[in-house]
Amino acid sequence: MKISLNWIKNYIDLSEISVEEIVSKLTMAGLEVEGFVDQNILYKNLIVGNVTEVKKHPNANKLTVCKVNDGSQDIQVICGAPNVAEGQKVVLAIPGSIVPKTKLQIAKVKMRGVESSGMICSADELGLGDDHSGILVLDNELKPGTPFSEALGLNDVILEIAVTPNRPDALSHIGVARDLSALFNRELKLPKIEFKESETDIHTLASVEIEDKLNCPRYSSRVVTEVSIKPSPEWLQKKINSIGLRPINNIVDVTNFVLHETGQPLHAFDLDLLVKHKIVVKSTAGKNKFTTLDSKVRELPENTLMICDAEKYIAIAGVMGGENSEVTESTKNILIESAYFNPAAIRRTSKYLGLSTDASYHFERTTDPSNTIWAAERAAQLIAEVSGGKVAKGTIDIYPNKISSKEIKLRLSRITRLLGYEVAKPNVIKILNKLAINVIKDLGDTLLTVIPTFRPDIEREVDLIEEIARISGYDKIPTISKINITLDRKTDDSRFHEIVRDTATGLGLYEIINNPLQSHKLASLTGIAVGISNPLSNDMNYLRTSLIPGALTVVSNNIKKGEKNLALFEIGNVFNLKVDRPIKSFEDFTETTSLILLLTGMKNVRQWYSRDESYDFYSLKGLVNSFNRKISLDNVLIDSYNTDEKSFYDNYFEKSLKDSVIGAGGQIKKNLLEIFDIEQNVFCFEYDLGKLTDIPQNKKLYSEPLKYPKVSKDMAFVFNKDVTFESVRKFIIQNGSELLKSVTIFDLFESKELGDDKKSMAFNLEYFDLKRTLTEEEVDNDFKNLITLVTKNFDAQLRGN
């Protein structure tokens, strides 16, 4: 919101207070000044110039070479504007000055071989409107050499204030002035309203009826007759310009002025266009169409609050007037609407129509129901002043259920308890008074206060405490340096994820974080996706159902950038829809946390000490097993292979606990990779981290290191190719003695010599007993027995001797 300091000075004396002080005090009181423009600085070195000569540029068709008198001498300036002419008074930017809009510094330059020592400015370049078709031509009476800001009275300071939604009272110049009066302890002076009323009673000219009293609690109105529509006088145009609005005509400008003076939106109807000169406020019954004054046809939903005359709609209440009743050049008589509408109703309409106006912005934040008459009279006064109109006698004010001021008790002890320091009673009372909050009873610790209706945000004691804190300054609240800590058990929901992340990075993986919003195409690859009702784009209109599509996108993007060798992990939530209707409860979808581990490309590449090595299935399986071991899960999970034919993996394997699959992975199928434009193998494994978290972690107990020697034995066989390692390992363990503790594979090969359908596997067997040293004989017996059994059972041949 733009606030003009010159304007504000109509209501409060700010002499001897610097702009910086005002900016800082407002910001520190919750009216954050996001920026300000001091016109004296903005228009520095811009002066009024007199164009004394205009000649064609010798080397450019569209340029002219001008002589501009700066009050003492002629300066040569190149100009590109079509409207420049001798005798004009213009805005001259001399070298060293800065163009307000573009912030470019003017310097002496040569343009196409001709020297130029300045620039003639357009309105657009000066930040005074959007006309950039030509230079700004000034009043001919102005003296060359006069500073531009002085010549046009542009010596204002314009503040840009970010007003939070709880402070509708501060959305006006009087509102900001009221805060300033509390902050600087100066008096707030409201303008006096004085005007002559004509003999004609308003009730003979117009009538108002409210049908929807819930959404329109109050409708006040004044009528001004015999107006003449014309441009506003200079003072009014200047005020309208100063806050970034465009002057339109004297009537519209007055309504805008009063809105930004008091915060009460007004609408002016052409009274003669209203059938039976009647206003009816009611809500639409069905769907309707209506043309607003911007000539757009609006589709109105049911229950839209409308202003009507005896026959038709004439305005969307609180949002925008209609084309059929707007003030035009031929308007003679005017009805001023000054109403209080239900904020939620206006907001619903504005949201539905996607139409936010100055009026709806104020109404939906709650206007002051007690101020409608004052605002209507203020507008009547000004309209009479600037249009020569006559104010009809009396006011129409329909206000069936008066909204009364709230009474709130404020305990001084509660201020201390909430803020942590004591504010002295006289200070509390002074602050309240400056904010127009009356203390009607002083009961010692408790003050009984009455809240003005323009402060809808103050509803409870705590809201008053905020006012005390805000105006005293938050810097008055002490910053304590000691706290009490309870000695209860502390929870950390993220602890397990931290362990997972530490483990994954320790295994050489880099963490990625993807946007869970995806296209329908990607999200539905891996599940039934939850859709977004109001998405930003079609690339982000569904929630991911798995971490795989996001991870593959990352792989694809990195390959395009030349990063082909990737070891990645991500922890993130995935969402699956359980019903085929809109979500109504938490039972209708699942949100679970997943972990994905991903390998692609080369493990070792171009190292002087090793051969190049690609990631393969066993890299992934090893990674998964190392991961499980680190988080103490290697003993409890069961592996199974190629059990799910529908999966998007070749060489699929999964880990499960009893019947519940904890994670699954393998080599991503080619047809899935094609979607992501990936031509290299990708291996990944996705865990349901929620299930993993729920598994009671193996309790680690100390076991005494082995005191007696282990005996290690090797055996190698030639098998048929379809014999799996696991089947042999299991067989050996099952048939070996109790002393046999482990079987591992240490060599595997195939060769022409062995035959096409054969392979060789070599095993290492480890024997030991916790309580004694083994004899060579007992180990040998078992070992020889196992050789015989394996040979028989698998139709294998023992290798070597």
Partner: protein
């Protein structure tokens, strides 16, 4: 006489032994001081001339001298030998070592970890909650009435009339308080969503950390103290700070905390938009309406809450100028942290 000699010999020995580098030099020193005809033995010979009553004392001194010298000598000897004993090989020691790749956590995770550890040190628990939330938990219970302009502060992705992607981590406050009676002291990190056009300055997904403390006597002064302590631990001891009034429906009074710009020490630069201040978080005292939604007695209990954006903190701290880079997962970016 004798003690002066002892001193002199010890000093000379120490000079020589400390500069000895080779076995040859060592051998020469051994002969000079410790051999049968060496300087220490010579002194022992002089013992004969010492008066009888001084003999025991002089003997002690000499023994101690011999012990010191031989200890030092052996020390130096073994140190030289261990250096020289490296067999001369053909290894090119300048070749790069066989490094083991260690991955890294995403910079957002690292930033969050740092924040978490500071608050855990101040006795905070850590709670998490779902991203797909009910309108009730995300807005209504946090005192955003339906059809209220406060909802415009947070543009929302809806999945249905009553469910949405949470716009802040504050709904976790509701979940925690519904689950547990005061005192509650917890931070609640997580991912949040805003329906805002994607640009270098804003992304539709980001991360927040929420903080909450409710007990019988929690004051704004304690809120200030806690957050100033956090800021000093995270951003540095020297910074200045200020609390400005602001508005959040779920706190009253509400504030925003600014710290002096660490990039320019508050002088004004591009990072702080020439204000000298950086906004780092929003905070306030828990609104009584929130307490009534979770059945806490707001006469008995008071509390504070705060929230900060992780991306914003990481952007400022690491000098990153485009928020989108966090979600691009370019390996060259990931490897920098």
């Amino acid at each position: 006489m004798l003690s002066e000699e002892i001193k002199k010999i010890r000093n000379e020995f120490e000079d020589e032994i400390s500069t000895a580098r080779s076995p040859d030099q060592l051998e020469q020193i051994r002969i000079k001081y410790l051999s049968r005809s060496g300087r220490v033995s010579e002194l022992f010979n002089q013992l004969k001339t010492v008066p009888l009553d001084e003999k025991p004392e002089a003997g002690k001194k000499l023994n101690s001298l011999r012990e010191q010298i031989s200890n030092k000598f052996n020390q130096q000897k073994s140190s030289i030998e261990s250096k020289n004993n490296f067999p001369k090989t053909e290894l090119d020691l300048t070749l790069p070592g066989k490094e083991i790749v260690i991955g890294s956590k995403h910079i957002l995770t690292q930033t969050l970890d740092e924040i978490k550890s500071i608050f855990k040190g101040m006795g905070f628990s850590v709670f998490e909650g779902p991203e797909l939330e009910s309108d009730y938990n995300n807005f209504e219970a946090l005192n955003f009435p339906p059809d209220h302009p406060a909802r415009d502060m947070q543009d929302t992705f809806f999945v249905s009339k009553d469910f949405l992607l949470r716009t802040h981590t504050s709904p976790v406050q509701i979940r925690v308080m519904k689950n547990q009676a005061p005192p509650v002291r917890a931070i609640m990190p997580g991912r949040v969503y805003r329906n805002e056009a994607v640009s270098a300055r804003s992304y539709c997904v980001f991360h927040q950390v929420e903080g909450l403390y409710v007990d019988t006597d929690v004051t704004f002064a304690e809120l200030k103290g806690t957050l100033v302590s956090f800021a000093h631990q995270f951003y540095g001891e020297k910074l200045e700070y200020r609390f400005r009034p602001s508005y959040f429906p779920f706190t009253e009074p509400s504030a925003e905390m600014d710290i002096s710009c660490f990039n320019c020490d508050g002088k004004g630069c591009k990072l702080c938009k020439n204000t000298g201040w950086l906004e780092i978080l929003g905070c306030g005292m828990v609104d009584p309406n929130v307490f009534s939604h979770v059945n806490y007695d707001s006469e008995k209990f008071t509390g504070y809450a705060f929230g900060m954006g992780i991306e914003r903190i990481a952007l400022m701290k690491y000098g990153i100028d485009d928020i989108r880079i966090f979600f691009e997962n370019d390996l060259r970016f990931l490897k920098q942290f």
